[in-house]
């Protein structure tokens, strides 16, 4: 069994636990400091990809996340073998990520409000969507409808998982059918597009949020380079298919730096959740206003600055300013 022992460091590699080189500005970053800045480069604002569990810890109220369906396990229905068999890829990904598949879902509170949260993990076979990821998105949506709590999906995925063939393609239909029901039930759905959100995930639930939020400079794209190579030979301009490109083309509502994402979600939920009704179908005035002031106070306390322009999508969107907020 080829167990790769970590005794011999690779050439040019720093001890993996200490330093990370920023791929954008080439700055050497001390990992502990990088973790403190939510894995955003303090120099250039580059947003590193983060595992699902880290993302969840950033977003939810501490200790409130209850994972559901962690035991869903993908199967190799096609007997798929490319350069190595699909089950081997699954085991390798499971070992390196500690997850069973590329999505984690559960319920949590964010700013005191219960939500149904599903987060994808790019580290697991490129965050690709097979039957288990589709099922988890679907169950997150169903829980949102059943409990009438907002649905939040954080996407980070290369698209549909080819090794599951047309079953993976059907996950687009499965997740969209659920999202349509979420919308019909007037349950808010926030879609967060992290780097990268491409292929079948972008072309299904990720693009149709009530509010679409993208992380700065996230790659968001339907047709990948390798897919369109050979089919179409077009020169692509720099910055093509990045979050800012989609902002200017009208498919993303806001570009929000990671440090502000939680506050942004809290603020949006404050608007999208209808205040509770009293017996005669009118909003309860006190109930409608109390949480807002409570939330504003909480928001200010958490972010350290309560200035309203810290939620301005355009200024947050520029990469230079992002981590300093």
């Amino acid at each position: 069994m080829p167990v790769r022992l970590p005794f011999r460091p690779r050439r040019d590699a720093y001890p993996p636990d200490l330093w990370t080189k920023c791929p954008s500005c080439a700055e050497m970053l001390f990992n502990k400091q990088l973790d403190k800045s939510l894995r955003v480069c303090p120099h250039c604002g580059h947003h590193f990809r983060i595992p699902a569990k880290v993302r969840i810890a950033h977003l939810v109220d501490s200790g409130s996340f209850m994972e559901r369906d962690a035991d869903l396990q993908p199967v190799d229905a096609l007997g798929f073998v490319d350069l190595k068999p699909y089950p081997d890829r699954l085991v390798a990904a499971q070992l390196s990520t500690g997850l069973r598949d590329a999505a984690v879902w559960g319920t949590a509170t964010i700013g005191g409000r219960p939500v149904s949260l599903c987060v994808m993990d790019f580290g697991f076979i490129g965050g690709s969507m097979g039957s288990v990821v589709g099922e988890k998105v679907a169950r997150a949506g169903e829980a949102a409808i059943a409990e009438r709590i907002p649905l939040i999906i954080v996407s980070s995925s290369g698209g549909a998982r080819m090794q599951e063939g047309t079953y993976a393609l059907m996950q687009l239909a499965k997740t969209m059918a659920i999202v349509e029901r979420v919308k019909a039930a007037s349950v808010p759905y926030l879609s967060v597009l992290a780097d990268p959100t491409t292929g079948g995930v972008f072309a299904s639930f990720a693009v149709v949020g009530d509010v679409n939020i993208a992380e700065p400079n996230a790659l968001i794209r339907f047709a990948g380079d390798r897919v369109s190579a050979g089919t179409i030979s077009e020169e692509l301009p720099p910055g093509y298919a990045r979050a800012e490109f989609w902002f200017s083309h009208g498919f993303v509502d806001r570009i929000v730096a990671r440090a502000h994402l939680r506050d942004e979600i809290i603020a949006l939920l404050g608007f999208l959740i209808a205040p509770p009704l009293n017996g005669i179908g009118e909003p309860i005035a006190a109930g409608a206003f109390k949480p807002r002031s409570f939330l504003s106070a909480l928001t200010g306390a958490l972010s350290g600055d309560g200035s309203p322009d810290s939620r301005n999508g355009e200024s947050n969107g520029s990469r230079g300013e992002a981590p300093r907020g």
Binding site: R89, A92, S131, A160, T166, M176, E180
Partner: protein
């Protein structure tokens, strides 16, 4: 198999490899002379009025749509339209649709719902147009919304895959109550070329990718993605387009009849359940141990626990970076 389908005697002394057989099937599905939506409708319908434009940006000639009368029924027909010669192909962008095509389809599907007309779609597309013009006008959004609309449209939808059913571009018009496929058609999550380019890092392995993805209509029937396969006449649909259209017509009318007997609520609920159920998975006996950073201790622990918790995998688990895929 292809030889048998085409009624040819098997090439003597040189049996075709299974890979070559599947690749021949893929080529058959792509045959330029296969009938596309307009050719089929011309034979199937007594009357057809094509409608144009998405009311937002333009008209996409790679997707055609219109009102048809078939066997006395008013229906809406929507389908992909490849060209049959170079000139028509250039005009129709080689059958690769832009977002306007899907938005036109959605507009007309909503109209079908309002006027209680069943929807019939013909699917034959390699994939949505992968260029910048389609991307920046939101091909992903158009496909997502079209899939979502079809999953809840309150009128019967019959889908016929007539050639290539290529990835999200095909699915954008392929969500329905009944999904039929012509014998030599294919249906896949990504084109064999795209799959080979990503997983094998070489487009030359396309045939192998087609085999691995089990793209043929017969295999998709086994998976339950396709409900019935319609046999093609002679040596394939391209040899007798009119007979192909007549065969499709018969099966489609049959299904429109049976779908018409359901209440709209039952119909939509059954369609939802169908797509909700797709995709096999199992429930593992215990959750895997969380690994923060894979050091040697973690790896060894992982290897031991993998053996215990995942007896399904009989192959020796290998460590190493997993491939990253995108579609």
């Amino acid at each position: 198999m292809v030889d048998r389908l085409l009624g040819r005697p098997h090439a003597e002394g040189k049996p075709e490899s299974p890979t070559a057989e599947v690749w021949a099937h893929v080529q058959q599905a792509r045959n330029l002379k296969r009938p596309h939506t307009l050719e089929l409708v011309k034979v199937m319908a007594d009357e057809f009025i094509e409608l144009h434009g998405d009311r937002l940006f333009g008209d996409d000639s790679a997707i055609v749509a219109g009102l048809a009368r078939i066997d006395g029924r008013r229906i809406v027909v929507i389908g992909f339209q490849k060209g049959q010669d170079t000139e028509e192909n250039i005009r129709r962008n080689f059958g690769l649709p832009h977002p306007e095509g899907y938005r036109k389809a959605m507009r007309i599907m909503e109209m079908a719902e309002r006027f209680a007309m069943p929807v019939l779609t013909f699917v034959d597309v390699q994939g949505a147009f992968p260029g910048a013009a389609a991307e920046e006008r939101g091909i992903a959004e158009a496909i997502a919304r079209s899939v979502g609309l079809m999953s809840r449209l309150r009128t019967p939808i019959v889908v016929v895959i007539t050639g290539e059913g290529g990835s999200g571009g095909a699915l954008g018009l392929a969500v329905g109550d009944v999904v039929l496929a012509l014998e030599n058609s294919i249906y896949s999550v990504i084109s064999p070329e795209g799959c080979a380019a990503i997983l094998w890092r070489s487009a030359e392995q396309s045939a192998q990718a087609a085999v691995a993805m089990k793209v043929t209509a017969a295999e998709q029937l086994e998976f339950g993605i396709v409900d019935a396969v319609i046999p093609e006449p002679g040596e394939g649909a391209h040899t007798d387009p009119a007979e192909t259209a007549r065969r499709i017509r018969g099966v489609v009318i049959e299904h429109l009849d049976s779908l018409g007997r359901l209440s709209v609520d039952d119909l939509v609920e059954a369609r939802f359940k169908r797509y909700r159920a797709y995709g096999p998975y199992t429930v593992a006996d215990r959750p895997s141990a969380p690994v923060e950073r894979p050091g040697i201790a973690h790896r060894l622990r992982g290897l031991i626990s993998t053996r215990r918790s995942m007896p399904r995998f009989t192959r020796t688990p290998r460590t190493g970076p997993s491939g990253r895929e995108e579609v």
